[in-house]
Amino acid sequence: MLWKTIKRGYHQLGSPRYFYRFSSAVLPWLTPIALITFVVGIVWGLAFAPPDYQQGNSYRIIYIHVPASSGALMGYVAMGIAGMVAVVWRMKMAEIMIKAIAPFGAALTAISLVTGALWGKPTWGTYWQWDARMTSMLILLFMYIGVIALQNAIRDPRQAARAAGLLAMVGVINVVIVKYSVEWVNTLHQGSTLKLVGESTINPAMKYPLLISMLGTWLLYAVNVMVRARTEILSRERRSGWVKQLVAAGGR
């Protein structure tokens, strides 16, 4: 029963028209929730969380650096999955998703690199070292830019999506390297603070604002992807009956 519902939902969301209707219903409440979560997390972290015993206040950039980095990595994995669906199943909605996911992810990667450099100077004493974590994160930025560029280089949107999808899929290997670089080889960058299994090495008073700002960033990313996907759907389906009807009805 549940499986059938999930399967039906998946197939329905695979239809651009249904996705457009679905996102029209979701966006009006998801957008304010995302904004509020993000603002609460950031303000709590930057202004109210206690200072660190070692780094004082300079550790606070973690409330921007970690949400941006995690969003960038998750976004890339999502784009890789969309790429695989686009290449194997030729699903239209997956093709649209590759295009919708890339720009925000590239921006988050850039934010992660810049905030990381700004954090590195007062703590490590350097903006940049070619260590495995930083280098692989820079490669992630190039992968995102490559996916965007490849998509724009091919005129036919379906062919463009397949080429970009293949690149997105292959690049997921790099995400694995980013994640585990700090465990496999020795780096200047410290290991992960938040762990999927086991206890996190951050005080709860600092952890909750961090988790909230991460959630806020992910939700903002989801909102951005939906808005971009809707624009792309309208542009691709502009000749179809339902879009013409929509326009005739004043875009409602």
Partner: protein
């Protein structure tokens, strides 16, 4: 799944698995080059080359830091529990440089016991807590309060 999709899925799977293996092998082969620094163990055992530019990393031995009162000269012992050597440096140390703390130094290995640094970077670990909590932990004699930097001393072999 129809045969065409099945075939496409197989091709995609082969490409991905092949690439993952290739990247894994490259990563494994270049492991020492990807490592940012040599560990004290590698220095002492002779794995690190003499008289060439390199980075070393380790923990500053508590009580080993000697500053020259007339100049910016400083020297300290670096260890990872499996070997140790002395680092000489002339310049301003980063704020987070402390005894017991992990550091990465860039410079030249003169001998197995002596490293001349041009640049000293401080590592910090992934533990964050308010100063009050740190004090409370220290008072209670909790081992977590002065846990050595866990991110140090990964050796590639």
């Amino acid at each position: 799944m129809n045969p065409v999709r099945k075939q496409r899925l197989a091709i995609v799977a082969v490409i991905l698995v092949g690439l993952a293996i290739a990247v894994g092998l490259i990563f494994y082969a270049l492991r020492q080059n990807i490592n940012l620094f040599y560990t004290p163990q590698q220095i002492v055992s002779g794995e690190a080359p003499l008289n060439s530019k390199m980075r070393v990393g380790g923990l500053v031995v508590p009580g080993s830091v000697k500053r020259d009162p007339q100049s910016l000269d400083v020297q300290f012992t670096l260890t990872d529990g499996k070997g140790s050597f002395v680092v000489h440096y002339q310049g301003i140390l980063p704020d987070l440089f402390r005894e017991g703390q992990g550091i990465v130094a860039n410079g030249t290995l003169i001998s197995r016991q002596r490293f001349e640094a041009d640049e000293v970077l401080a590592k910090h670990d992934e533990t964050y807590m308010p100063p009050e909590v740190k004090d409370a932990l220290e008072k209670a004699g909790h081992p977590a309060a002065d846990k050595p930097d866990s991110s140090m001393g990964k050796t590639a072999s």
